[in-house]
Each structure stands twice: as structure tokens, then as C-alpha cells.
Amino acid sequence: MSYAGKILKIDLGNKVIKPIPLDERLCKQYIGGEGFGVKILYDISEPNIHPLSSKNPFILMCGTFAGLPIPASLYGVFAKSPQTQFLGEAFAKGMFAPELKYAGYDGIVILNKARDPCYIFIEDDEVSIRSARELWGKDTLTTIETLMELHPRAEILCIGPAGENCVGFASIENDFGRHAGRTGLGAVLGSKNVKAIVVRGSKGIKVNDPSALWKELEHIWEEEFSEKTEKYRLYGTPGGVKGINEMRSLPARNWHSSYVEFAEKISGEAMRSLVKKELACLGCFVACRKLLKVNGDFVEGPEYETIYSFGTNCLIDDLEEIARLHLRCDLLGLDAISAGAITAFAIDLFERGRLSEQQLGFNLSYGDVEAIEEFLELIAYRKGVGEIFARGIKYAAEKFGAEQLAVHVKGLEPAGYEARHMKAMGLGYAISRRGACHLRSGGYEIDAKFPNLKTQERIKALILKENQYVLYDSFGVCKFMRGFIDEHYLAQLSRVILGWNTTPEKLLELASNIITLARKYNVREGLTMQDDMLPERLFKEKVNGKRLSKAAFIKELKLYYRMRGWSPEGVPR
């Protein structure tokens, strides 16, 4: 029930395509989505492979509830990350995962490498590998439009030039503007010569108890118009800009500041006048996706994180310019958070004379949109000095001898929440399995709502949130629904949709196991406590009068390990 029942295994090397029946034990232990992805990756990966080698499997898994009229249309992609060298995972919503389930698959596992550029075409039981010679080199939107013409009513996921060129933070795009952006898994697809996956399905999804589901739907729809989702409904994610800035927690100028004067200008409220159409993912009335018209062009976004990464971090105070860079990242297939953060780092280098005009070919300074656009091109096509930055911030920092300036954990740049002010978020960045990510734990919400928690209480709250977030990513439920969907409600939905009698406690326990398994994967790849450290700058440089104490942080880290049941070095027993 609700599962499609098969996982598609595609070996690009010898072109063997095989559907594998879904194991029921896997469902009961790992739920779906992230749980499946982490488990399968852990099981089939050889340790210590190069992320861009043919041995790195590429795994795509749909959320358990994808395809139903509830906001749960998630798919996740999993592989060893070329950006962090640890677990790579990224998630996106939209129509792709539902369509894959309508075609009869809960996920795809891609092995080995294709010899020539190709795309994978799935139509129910017919699966083929087709030539993408004509598409190679095309930007993401052109690719989607071309494939759409070829295959009407199909759903498409693809990479851009950055993915083809194996840039460390290349993203995967679907639905003209949804991205599985983080940890550079677009590069893994690119290394396999896969430009796109096209899917069209005509099978249905059944639920266990349709009449009970009907009642839940009415409840969900009511909540989708309640104040719990109001911010997303009105402004999308940029609704957070002003509030976070007021909290002095919006990182700016490559993390040298945590507040900007011009927040009002780039806020969600200001964006509203540019919005031409609102869009939703499958089964959601909230419609947080805002389509803008900018200089006659039609752009989806920018999101909160782009407003941080290019807006405040690169000091661009104009929404239309930020939208333009957002679109540029979309077209090139770059993760907009990493791209913005690494650009701010490069600007910082430039201002300090560590990166020269000669090396770049142009001047790079804060707020210079044209130069930033040019810089993004250098990265995506690995031209000149772009080659260094294309490998990610960690490599670039070593190359320029500027580890002190670079802000990242495990090679992944953080999202737009200042860790020196937001302690739960800081620890969340540190212990996140994919590097400095805000969406593994959502720690910023703890800091915003309960800023005065004692250490132990804060870590307890963080662990609970981390577990909940794994449940969202496994069931496929959108995190923006967290105001009314929690583990209790997920257990209820499991009964109604899957016919699975489970309890909230059991679900949290499963989530905790998934986190521990992901940790085991990372430890197998060589992760040590050192990799869980926040960037040195956050301990040394003050922002708005605050910096972190390293000793206190290490104590917190150890306490976290203990509360997770791991060894004092952070190794699961």
C-alpha cells in the first residue's frame, strides 16, 4: 500500500536494467526516502572510493507518501559526495517522485558509467537508455524543455553544464526550478554521463483506508490555510529574511557580519510585488514557490537561502539582481547556497589581495553582479581559476592557504543562519551528516523559539528535531508542514495510508537508527571528530559581540555523542 513495490536497478556499464521487488522488512525498518537511500548506499558501496569513479552508486529514492494529495512529493538522491567525500544526500519535491511511483518504482539505483552522454527514459515497464548527445552542454531549462517536447506529459530531472563538468557542488533540477542541490550529486550523475532521467507513469497508487484518508485530507487542507503555514503561503521561504536579520543572525559579507541594513529591500514582503504566479508541488495548496517577472524574464525564486548566499553574503541589495543570479545558478546547474557562499569567500580573498585580477581576468568585489555572474561561469566550465573553486571551498581554501577565511563543515558551506548567535544551529551544522546543513536538524527554530535553553535541554531538543527531520525526509513530507505534522501525526498517517500500526516512539527510534547508520557510513569513509568541528573563525572572530567558545563547543559535541549512544569520539557502537 502506497509503496509502488519495485526498485529499478540500472547498470550503465553493461546496460542491464532490472526491477527488483521491494523487501517488506526494508519498509518496516527504513520507511522510505532517506531511510532507503542511506541503507542501500551503506550496503552496496565499497569503502573509500572516489566519488566520481564508476564505483560510486547513484541512488534515487521516493518518499513513502509521494504521489498522494498531501504535501509529500519528495525524492532524495544519495551517493558519496564529491563535495564532502562523505555521505552525499539531497532532496527535492515536485512532480518527479510521484511520477516515478506512478510508473511503478519506489526508487532507482544507477551503477557504473555510460560510455556516451545518455538519458534514462522510463515509461511504466519500458525502460531504456537513450543518447543525449544533442543535450550535452545545454542548460537545465533548455534540457527540460527539449525533453518535454520529445516526451509530452513526462516528468524530467536533469543536470546542467556544472554537473557535466563534475563541479563539486553541481545540483540536480526538476520541475523547472526545484533542486536537489546540496553535496554536489549533479556531478555524480555527470560522471556517469547521465544528463537526465525522464519518467512517465500510468499506474495508480492505492491507500489502505481511503475513507479514513479523506478525513485526514480535510484536516491537512484546513491546516494548509491556517497561520501555521501562513508565512510560506504569503512569502515563500524569503518570509524569514527580516526576522532572522532582526535576530542579528543573518550571515553577511562572508560571515564577517550578521546583520544588513537593507534586509527590508530583499525580504519576502518586498518580493511580493514581483510575484506573477504562485506554484505548488504535487498535492499542496500552500504554494510556497513564487514565480517572479524580472526585467521581462520569468524566474522562479529566489529562496531565503539565495537571498542569504548572494544577497547578504555577497552584499547585493537588489532582489531583481539576486533573482538573476539565482536563475544563473539554475541554468548552470549549481547549488545556489554553495555557489553564493564560495563567491563570497572568493570576494573576501580578492579584497585581501590573495586572489588577483590577473588570476581571475576581472575584478571581483562585493555587490558586483556582473563580475559574480562571470565568476559562476568560470566555476561551471572549470575555466582558469574556476577550476580550483569548482572543487569546493575546502580544496580552494587549502590551495589559497586561507583556511581561516573559509566557512564550512566537512566541505559544505552553511545555510543562512549565524552559528555564533544560534547555538543549536551551530551544533546542528557540526553534527549534520552531510556537512553544514540547516535541514538535517532545523536547529535554527530551537534558537528562535527557545533561546535560553540549558545545554543539555538544547541538545535534547536538537536530537528530537533531527529525528523528526529524518522522518519527514523518509516519508517524503514537506518540512514546511512541520507546524502540524509531527511524529504523532505521521504514525496516524502510516495507519491510514500504509496499514502499518506503529507508534510515534517507534518512528523516532527508526529515525535515530537511520542517523546512526549514516554516521557509520561516514566513519567508514574516514570521518573523525575533527570533521565535526565548526570553522575556526567562529571561535576567534566576533560577530555582533559574540563568538563561540571552543572548549564549550567540544563539550557540547561530546555530550551529543553520548546522548546518541555513540563513543566519546563519535563512533557508533
Partner: protein, 146 residues
């Protein structure tokens, strides 16, 4: 009476398609929905549903005229298909200018909106309406390069 989708209000969530299939097919399967809201390109959105009006709309009643077996007819303002007579030749699908009638893969015969109005009732964005009168625009291009 016919159904109209207001694309300025529609958020492309496809709940109408999911519910249509749920009520008519007992499964969630948007490709079998009798109402379709599609994103055809980066800035092109369209909707497709039978415009079953007695006089004003779909005046040609092309599906009715096209049927060699006389299996499609109008009863009380609705399109009704007599599946005893219909042999599934697909002529009606070819001629429908609204792209609103299609061959059901299991039935092997055409299906069309039966005006159950579940999509209208459950579009919480208020984008689907019952309309009396003439509508010709079923596609919206938002313009701009992108």
C-alpha cells in the same frame, strides 16, 4: 454548464487530477484524470476538461459528430458515451479541440468528465469554477523569455 480553471489562481498542485482519479478510478493516478492542468513549458500552463455546454460552447460537438457508431450523445447537458455501441476507434479523441477526451487504457474506450464536480468542491484555491457561458481561453502563456 461547464467547468473552468482560472489559471491566475491555479497553483498547479494537481489535487484536482488526483481527486478526479480517486473518485472515478478509486486510485490516485493523475494520468487518468478527466480534468488536466498541465505545465507545458517553463511559462506555459494549460487546462483541459470537457466543455459540455448545451448551446454556447463546443457548439460543433465534434466528438458527437465524429463518432461513426453514434455512441456519443448529449443527455441533460452532459456528454454520455454508450459503451455498448462504442468500439473504441478513437475518432472522438482526434477531433476534440480541448484535448479533454481520452482512451482509458484498461477500458480501451474513451472517457470524459462526468461533471461529478469533485474537483470544483475540493480546489481550496478556488481556481476551478462552474461556469455558464462562453470560454475560449484554455492556455496561459505568462510571457517573457524566462
Amino acid at each position: 454548464m461547464h467547468i473552468e480553471v482560472d489559471l491566475t489562481k491555479c497553483v498547479d498542485c494537481k489535487n484536482c487530477m488526483l481527486l478526479c482519479s480517486f473518485f472515478n478510478e478509486k486510485d490516485f493516478i493523475p494520468s487518468l484524470a478527466r480534468i488536466k492542468v498541465l505545465r507545458k513549458g517553463y511559462n506555459t500552463f494549460s487546462w483541459h476538461v470537457c466543455q459540455q455546454h448545451e448551446k454556447e460552447l463546443c457548439r460543433q460537438s465534434s466528438c458527437i459528430k465524429s463518432c461513426p457508431k453514434g455512441a456519443i450523445m448529449k443527455r441533460g447537458g452532459r456528454i454520455v458515451i454508450d459503451y455498448e455501441l462504442c468500439d473504441g476507434c478513437g475518432k472522438c479523441v482526434e477531433v476534440c479541440k480541448y484535448d479533454a477526451i481520452f482512451i482509458h487504457p484498461k477500458l480501451k474506450k474513451p472517457v470524459v468528465c462526468i461533471l461529478c464536480l469533485n474537483c470544483v468542491k475540493n480546489c481550496k484555491r478556488g481556481a476551478i469554477k462552474i461556469f455558464e457561458g462562453n470560454v475560449e481561453v484554455t492556455e496561459k502563456v505568462l510571457g517573457g523569455k524566462r
